[in-house]
Symmetry: D2
Amino acid sequence: MNFRSDNEVGAHPAVLAAVTKAFTSGSAFSYGADDWTQRVERRLRDLFDKPDLVVQPVITGTAANSLALACCTPPWGAVFCHATSHIAAEETGAPEFYTGGARLFRIDGPAGKIDPVKFAEAAAQPVYGVPHFSQPTALSITQATECGTVYGPEEVAALSTIARRHDLAVHMDGARFANALAYVGCSPAELTWKAGVDVLSFGATKNGVLAAEAVVFFKPELAKDYPYRSKRGGHMLSKMRLISSQLEAYLDNGLWLDNARHANAMARRLVAGLSALPGTQLMYPVEANEIFVVMQAHRHDALQAAGAKYHPWPSDRPGERAFRLVTAFDTDPADVDNFLSIAKAA
Amino acid sequence: MNFRSDNEVGAHPAVLAAVTKAFTSGSAFSYGADDWTQRVERRLRDLFDKPDLVVQPVITGTAANSLALACCTPPWGAVFCHATSHIAAEETGAPEFYTGGARLFRIDGPAGKIDPVKFAEAAAQPVYGVPHFSQPTALSITQATECGTVYGPEEVAALSTIARRHDLAVHMDGARFANALAYVGCSPAELTWKAGVDVLSFGATKNGVLAAEAVVFFKPELAKDYPYRSKRGGHMLSKMRLISSQLEAYLDNGLWLDNARHANAMARRLVAGLSALPGTQLMYPVEANEIFVVMQAHRHDALQAAGAKYHPWPSDRPGERAFRLVTAFDTDPADVDNFLSIAKAA
Amino acid sequence: MNFRSDNEVGAHPAVLAAVTKAFTSGSAFSYGADDWTQRVERRLRDLFDKPDLVVQPVITGTAANSLALACCTPPWGAVFCHATSHIAAEETGAPEFYTGGARLFRIDGPAGKIDPVKFAEAAAQPVYGVPHFSQPTALSITQATECGTVYGPEEVAALSTIARRHDLAVHMDGARFANALAYVGCSPAELTWKAGVDVLSFGATKNGVLAAEAVVFFKPELAKDYPYRSKRGGHMLSKMRLISSQLEAYLDNGLWLDNARHANAMARRLVAGLSALPGTQLMYPVEANEIFVVMQAHRHDALQAAGAKYHPWPSDRPGERAFRLVTAFDTDPADVDNFLSIAKAA
Amino acid sequence: MNFRSDNEVGAHPAVLAAVTKAFTSGSAFSYGADDWTQRVERRLRDLFDKPDLVVQPVITGTAANSLALACCTPPWGAVFCHATSHIAAEETGAPEFYTGGARLFRIDGPAGKIDPVKFAEAAAQPVYGVPHFSQPTALSITQATECGTVYGPEEVAALSTIARRHDLAVHMDGARFANALAYVGCSPAELTWKAGVDVLSFGATKNGVLAAEAVVFFKPELAKDYPYRSKRGGHMLSKMRLISSQLEAYLDNGLWLDNARHANAMARRLVAGLSALPGTQLMYPVEANEIFVVMQAHRHDALQAAGAKYHPWPSDRPGERAFRLVTAFDTDPADVDNFLSIAKAA
C-alpha cells in the first residue's frame, strides 16, 4: 500500500527488456547518434503528427524543464508559471541556473491552474523593451498540474493565445503528460502544439520507466542551441541509448497510455471509495493520478498502523489534516481496496 | 573491429541484471535515499579504506567533473589542469557553468601529464588575495590521462604537495580510473587520498556499465553543498537506484578491475603487434586502454577496407598520419588479432 | 516644476567641489586604496557607531543591492522581499545575476512594507536542508519603501527577529535611507544594525550627489568576498575616489541629512496643499520624499498644460487616475507652491 | 616622479568643468536619455565616420570589455585573446561572469601582440557545430597592448580577416586606444571598423578623465541586448550624464588625442634618456605610454631613494631586474628629466 509517489515505483518489464537489449546488441554511436535516439524522434514525430519536431532525450524532469526554458528565455527574461508549479515551488533554482538568471513570475489560480485573467493582466504590464524590467519571454504550464487536475485543450489554447499576444514562448511541463492525455482523451497534438505549445517536457519517469524524459520542440528553431546547453549541463550522455531505449519501449504498443490509464483508474477507484467515507473531502478534482484529500485523524491512524504509505500535505484550514495519495502504472487494485477497507473500518 | 571508443560498447550482463533487479523488486525511496545508494557508499568507503568519504552517484562524467570542481572553487576561482584534459579541451564550458564562471589555467607537460615544475611556477604567481586576479583554488588531474598514460602514486603526490602549499583542492578526473589503477597495481587509497586527492570523479561508464559515475569526496566537508548544486543542475534522479545499482554490480566481485584489466590487456596486445610493424610508431607510452599510433597510409587503407573502426588523430609532424584506438571491457582478442593481421599483411 | 524623480536632479555644489578637488590634488592610489575611501570608511564607522563595519563604495544602487545580496546568499538561496521592492519589481534580474541564480520570494504587506505575519509564515516553511527547495538565506527591507513609507526601528527589529530565527541575513536597500532616517529621527545605528540589519545599501545618488552609493557591512565577515565579486562585476573603479570624494562631502557637516530633510519637507508641503483639494487622495502615508496621489483629471490637465512634470502611476481602482511626485534635495518651495496653486485653481 | 600608473593621476580641468556644469544646469532625463549621452553618440559617429554606430557609456574598462564580449558570445562561446591581455590575465573572471561562462583561449605572440599564424591555427580547429567544444565566437585585440606596443591598421586587419573566415566577432580592448591612435596617426575609422573591428571598448579613464569608458558598437545589431545586460550588471547609471559629460569634454577640441600625444611624448622622452644608460634595456618597443625596462639595481636604488614611483615587473631572465614606467596626460617633463638625471648619476 505505497501511495507515496510515482517516483518510488519500479519499471515496466518491457522497458527493462528494451534497455537490456540495447546494451547487449553490440556497439552504438555515442552522444545521441545511435539508432534508438533516431527512432524515438521519428516515433514522436508520428505520434504528435508533426514531422519537423525535434526530440532531445534527457535523464530528469528538472533538467528537461530547465533546458527547455533556457532555450526560450534569455538571462533577462521572465517566465510566468503557476505558484504551485514544480519549476517555481521546487527545483532549487534550476530554471534560474540554466537560463542564466531569468525570473519566475508566479500566477495564482484555482486547483493548480493558471487563471487566464490574472495571466493576461500580468503579461500586459508595460515592461516590454524597458531595460529596467525582466522581459517576459515564456509561459510554463504544468500538465497534469501539481494539484492533480488537467487542462483541457481549450484551456491550454486560452493561455497560449494570451502568451502569443506578447510573443511569449509556451512551455508545458509534462512530467505527468501521459496521465493528462489519458484523462482528456484527445490526440497528443491537440493537447500540445495545436493548442499553442512550443516545447514540451515529455515525462516518462513517473509512468513506468527507469529514468527518461524528452524535451520535445514543436518549434524546431528553439532547439538550435540545445546541444550546447545540454553538454555544459552534463546532460549529453555518451550512451544516450540508455534513455532512448526506455522511451522507445515506452511508446511501443501504446504502453505509455496504458500505464497512465491504469494509474488514473486506480486514482478514480480510490476516489470512489474515499468519497463514500464521512468526513473525507477531496481538495481538488481528481483528474490524473494524484489525490489530495482531507481525512479524519482516526482513519489516518488506522491506515498508518496497517502500513499504508502516503504523504501528509499542508491544508489551509486549521485543524484539518490533509494527505496526498499517488497511484502509479503498477498500483495493485487489491492495495487500493485494502486501503479503502481499512479507512472505512476505522 | 570497433576500436573507436569505450563509449560505444554495451554493458556487462551482471550490471544489466542488477538494474533489472533494482526495478522489479518493489518500490524504493526516491532521490538517493534508496538502499542501493547507501550500499554503494559503504562499499566505496571500504574499497578506499576511508570510512568518512561521501559518495554522490551521477549520470555523466562531465557532470561529475563540473559538480566536483564547483564544490572546490568559487566563481572567482581558478583551476589548474592539463591543456589536453577533458575539462579544458572539451565539455563546452561545463566547469565554468557549474562554478559560476571560474577560470581554467592550462599547464603543459609531456604525454598528457602536468609538468610539476610548470605547475609549481604557475601556482606560485603572486595573485593570492589580490582581487584583480582569479584566485587559484583547485588542481585537476586526469587519471588515466587523455594520452593514455597513467600517473603513479608518487606523481600524484608530487602535484598534490605543490597544490597543498597554496591551499588548492585536488580533483582527479577518473573517467578511466579503473584502467589507471589496474596498470599501477596499488590500492585505490594509495592512488587517491593517500596521494593527496580530495575529490574523485569515479568513472564507470567507459568500463562496462550503462551510464554511471560517482563523485567521491575524500574530504567530506567539500560535499556539503553538493545536493543543492546537483538538484539545480537537474542531476538528482528521483530513481537514483538506476545509477547506484549499476555501481553496486560494477564493484561486486571486482568486476570493475577485471573489466579494466581486460581492456588494458587488449591494448597491450595491440601494441605488441603494432610495434612489430615497420613504419608504425606509438605517440605515447600505452599504459591504459588508449593507443595513439602513427601508421602508414597503406595499412590504414587496408584496415578501413576490412571495416575496422577507429578515429584519425591530429599529428604534430606534417605528412604523418596518426590514429586513436581504444579497447574496452568486452574487446574480443580475435578482433585484435584480426586487426593486426590485416595491418601486417598490408 | 519637475517632480519626476530624485534621479533627474543635479548635485550639491559641495559635492561637486569635493570631486573637483579630489581630481586636481595630485595622484592617488588606485582601486580604493586612496585616502578618500579610507576616510569615508572611518566616517561611516563613527556615524553608525560601529568601529568594525566595512564600507565598499559603488556606483549604482542596483550594483549595491546585488553585490550585498550576493555576499549573503548562495546560488541556491532565496531572498524574501516586498513585492514592490526595487530588487523584485525592477533591476532586470540583477540580484539573480550576482547571486548566481538565487530566488526572490515576494511577500505582500500594506504601503510597501513587508507584513511580519506573512513573512514569518513564509520563512517557516519546512524547506531548510531539503535540496529540492531554494534555501532561505536573506531578507531584504526597502527603506524608505517604494510607496514612500518608512519602517520605524521597532518595525525593522520585528522583521529581523523573524529572520534571525531562521538564520537569514538582513539586507536593507537604503536607496532613500537618508530620507527615512530624517523622518524617523533616531540614530543611524538604531535604524540599522541595532535593529538587526547586517548589510545596508547606503544610497546617496538620489539625495544630492552625482552617482555614489556604499555597501555598508555591519557584519564584517559578510564582506570577505566582496572585492572579487565587485571586480568581476566591473565595479572596482581604478579611480575609486570619484565615488568616495562624493560620499565624503555628502557626510560632511550633515549635508546628507540636511538634503533629506529638505526633500521630505517639500513633500510634506505638497501633501499639505494637495490634501486640501477636493477629490484628491493620498494612496499611502507620505513619510519620505515620494507622494502617490489620486487626482482628478482636470487638475492633472491644468498641471500638464503648465509644464509640471511627474509620472502617472497605476491605480487599483478603475476610472481613477494616480500619479507619483518626487521631491529632492534642491526642490524649490516656489515650485511646490506654484504647483499647488495651479492644481487648486483648476 | 610618479610613473606607477595612468590610473593614479587626476583629471583634466576641462573634464572637471564639464562634469560640474552637467550637474548644476538643472534636471536631466535619467538612465542615458539625457542630452550629454545623445551628444556623445553623435560625436563618436562623426569621429569614427560611421553614422549608425551605437555608443554606451560605462564606468570601468572591465565592465566595457565584459559587456562588449557578452554581446558577441553565448555562454558556450570561446574568445581568442593574447595571453597577456587584461581580460585573460586580470579581471578575475569578469568576461566569464558577463558571458555566462564562455572560455578564453590564450594565443601567444611577441610583445603582447597575437601571432596571426597561431591565431589562424587555433581558429581553424574543427570544433564548429560540435557540441563537445566551446564554440569560437570572438577575437579580442588589446590596443595599445599590455606590453606598450601598438597594432597598425594592417595588423588589425590581418587578424580580423582570419576572424571573419570563421564568423568571429572582433572586439578591441581600447583602454589605451587614444595612445595607440596617437602613435599610428591614422583615422579612428582606419584603426577600427575599417580594419574589421566590430566593437570597441573606448577608454578614457587612463587618459585624463575621472572614470569614463564607452562601448562603441560598429555593428549596431550587436548592441541590441546591451541595455538589459548593463542594467543587470548594475551599470545603467541613473545619472548617466556623469559619464557622458566627461566623454563629451574628452572629445571636445581634440583633448583626447592631445592628452595621449603628451603621454606618448613623455614616454619617448624617458626612452631616449634610458637608452643612453649602460646596462639598461627595453623589453619591448615603446610605442604608447608604457615602458618595460631592465635596469641595474644601483640605478633603481638611487631612484627609489629619490622618491620615484614605479612598479617592479617580472623578467624572464634570472638575475635581471625589470620595471614598468607609465606616463600620463599630465606627466611633467621636469619629472622625466629629473628621473633620468638620477638614473644617470647613479
